[in-house]
Structures are given as structure tokens and as C-alpha cells.
């Protein structure tokens, strides 16, 4: 499959902007120095663009870029990997919660074109959806609680 370089480049530009937003947001929220966090942020963006690259190369594999990004960082940070110490030292300067506010600001804005559709839903769907969310959460939690207990982990 031909790789769309133009799209990848535009994605990189947006990632850099998002990276800058995170740097400022975590300075405000968690007092992390912007300059100290820049090397870590460059590594993070590097992996993110790598994930987009792999995703673009594997269009038939239903594995999202988000998961590729996690998997790559996971491998680089495993204790027995030579990369782990230096990689973690820098990426620790990028705060986990600091990355979340920009995402959810965009997410909130992005649902703006669904409000009218949402208003058309009946109240029954609202109740059923809440049951569905609660069901999957506690369904999984109860099973894992039992298994973790049987394994003696908790």
C-alpha cells in the first residue's frame, strides 16, 4: 500500500501542536518545567508518529494507532530492555494526567454535531445506556476480582 506522506506530515504538525498544549497544561496543573519536559515530549511524539506509520501500513489489521503507541512504549520500557532507563527518565517528565485535558477538550468539542441527534433519542435509551455502561464495568470487575483472588494476587 502506498504510504500517504502528506497526511502523515499533517498529522505530525498537529501532534507537535498538541505536544505544546500538553507542555503548557502540565506546567499550569502540575508545575512541571516546560524545558525539562521537552526531550520526553519529543520521544512521545516520535512514538506517536511511528504508531501512525504502522497503522497506515497495516490497514487490514484492526489494531488502532493508540494501541500501537502503547505497545511500542511498553516494549521500550520493559525492565530488561536496554532502552528502559533512559526512556522512562525522560518520558516521566510528561505527566499522565497532563495529557488528558487537551484530549477531552477536543473530544467535548467534537460531539457538538451530535447534540441534535442526541435530543431525538428517547429517555428510554438514556436509561438503557446507563445500564449498559454499568453492566460492562461491574461485569468485568466482578470476574477479575474473583480470578485475582483465586490466583492469590489480591
Amino acid at each position: 500500500m502506498a504510504l500517504d506522506k502528506e497526511k502523515l506530515f499533517n498529522q505530525l504538525k498537529i501532534l507537535i501542536v498538541v505536544g505544546m498544549m500538553v507542555l503548557v497544561a502540565q506546567r499550569v496543573g502540575y508545575g512541571i518545567s516546560i524545558t525539562a519536559a521537552i526531550p520526553g515530549m519529543i520521544m512521545v511524539i516520535g512514538i506517536a508518529i511511528f504508531a501512525l506509520f504502522i497503522r497506515a501500513l497495516t490497514p487490514n489489521l484492526q489494531f488502532p494507532a493508540f494501541a500501537w503507541a502503547s505497545l511500542t512504549a511498553l516494549i521500550l520500557s520493559m525492565p530488561f530492555m536496554p532502552t528502559s532507563r533512559i526512556f522512562l527518565q525522560y518520558t516521566n517528565q510528561v505527566n499522565f494526567l497532563g495529557t488528558t485535558a487537551p484530549i477531552l477538550a477536543f473530544a467535548g468539542i467534537s460531539v457538538g454535531n451530535k447534540i441534535e441527534q442526541l435530543k431525538k433519542l428517547s429517555w428510554k435509551v438514556v436509561i438503557v445506556a446507563i445500564c449498559v455502561f454499568t453492566g460492562t464495568y461491574f461485569g468485568s470487575a466482578i470476574i477479575s476480582h474473583i480470578i485475582l483472588k483465586m490466583q492469590g494476587i489480591i
Binding site: E6, N10, Q11, I14, M21, V24, V28, G29, V44, A48, A51, Q62, A65, F66, A67, A69, T72, A73, L74, I75, P79, L88, N92, F96, L97, G98, T100, A101, P102, I103, L104, A105, F106, A107, G108, I109, S110, V111, G112, N113, Q117, K124, V125, V128, C131, V132, F133, G135, Y137, F138, G139, S140, A141, I142, I143, S144, H145, Q151, I153, I154
Partner: protein, 290 residues
Amino acid sequence: MGEDQKVKRPLCEKELLDPKGRNGVFVKLIVTAFIISIISELIGRKSFSIGIGNIVLLPMLYAVIMGILVTPDILGKKIKSLSKLVSREEVELASPFVMLALLPLGVKYGTLVGPNIVKVVQAGPAFLLQELGNLGTIFVGLPIALLLGMKREAVGATVSICREPCLGVIGEKYGISSPEGTGTLGTYLMGTVFGTIFFGILGSISVATGLHPLALAMAGGMGSGSMMTAASGSLAAAVPEMSEQILAYAATSNMLTGVTGLYSTVFLGIPLVNFLYRKLEPILGRGGRK
């Protein structure tokens, strides 16, 4: 999606991301999201007790609420200058931005799982089996939907938490405008708009159930990056002494659901929900079927 609508068709993702001639849209969207993020961080984390447990409110929760509020159909309707800043164009562009903005978080999750990889592998059986818990949507949701008088919509609405892959499967099997499709779309919309808010609150308060925080952490991985973040972020804030392991478990479970979710809907969810529908509908369903 007929041929005659070609002129007014929405931009595809590649065109959306191309800033050529659309710089203004990019700047307005980025500035808005930036201001929202900074305000959210300035408010900071708030936690309070409501008797049965603690609710932890994180900046991301304020960010999603403010994001929804500034859109054209909510506050934009009342404040004209706001609707100029955030118009339909910015709303449309925000979607691919979410996908990209999630990637740094994905990397952070990886760095939380990596160092804990041994513990995660040890908990392997629990990770695999708790995937079956995602069928809880059917056991809890379907009876309620039937009691409320829903018919085939109930099948679509409760088959899973109805994220994008499920929308695709149901759309292909029943058609998205079928009753089943309508149901799936309903749960999907609810999740998209309120999912992070709901799980952001449920995450911290669920500690009160007595279920172990690590079990709850696994449950937070539902195949949606933002919902998992809301659930595990607030859970980790509520149980700070286990926060790293909580985030690592949640991220692993989410990755796993990303792989298994689609197959579990096709091979387990759809057959199960149809089987239970046939059994339960005559008992719980209201008469006078259409």
C-alpha cells in the same frame, strides 16, 4: 450518500487534516481547546465525600464538559461571538484531533505497563476471563430495555458498549437504520457524549463497592481510550497508593479489549443477546407488539 450530494459531502479525514486554505479553522479550534485545557488545570482536582464514598473530579472532566458547552448547538446558540469561534467547521475538525491527541496518552500508558510487565503477565488469566464481563451489558441492559417496552432496538442497544467497531458490525448485519441499528446508535451516542463524564465519576465511587481496585482497574479497559482514561484516572486518584498499577492494568485490559472486542461481539454478544431476547421478550416485553 447519493451521487447528487457530492458537492456538499463532508470532508474526508485526509482533507480535514490539510490546513491549506483552512488555517483559520485550525487556529480557532486549537486556541479554544488550549483555553479550555488551561482553565481545567487551573480549577484542578477536587474531591469530596458523598457518604458512600469519595468522588474525585479531574481536570479532564471539566475539559469535556466545557468542550461540549462551547459548541454551536449549546452556548453558541445564545452567544453569537462564540458561534463564530466554534462553528460546525471547528466541530468537524475536532474529531481527527481527538484521535491524534490520544496518542501521547497511549505512549504514557505503555510506559506504565512496561515496568510492571511481570505483574501484568502474572495476572494474565484474570485479564482474559474478565473480557467475558463485557457481556454484562446484555445481562443488565437487556431486561431493563425490555421492561421499558423496547423491542428489537434493545438488541442493538445492549449487545456491547457500542463503540465504533460494534457500529460497523451491527450496521453490516442489520443495517444502521434498522431497529437494531437505531439501538446501537443510541448507546453509541450516549457513550460519545456522556461516557467520559459517567466513567469519570463511576471510577472513583466504585471503590465503595468493596471490589478490589485492581479488579476495577481491569474493568475500566472497555476498548475506548477516553472512557478508560476517565475511569482509571479517577480510580487512581481515589486510591493513590496503587495508582501506577491501576493505570497499568487498565491500559492492558483496554489493549486486550481492542483486540478481542470485535470478535466477542460477533461470536458471543450477538448470539447471546438474540437468544436472551427470544427467552425474555415474551415474559418481560410489553404486549401490543408492532
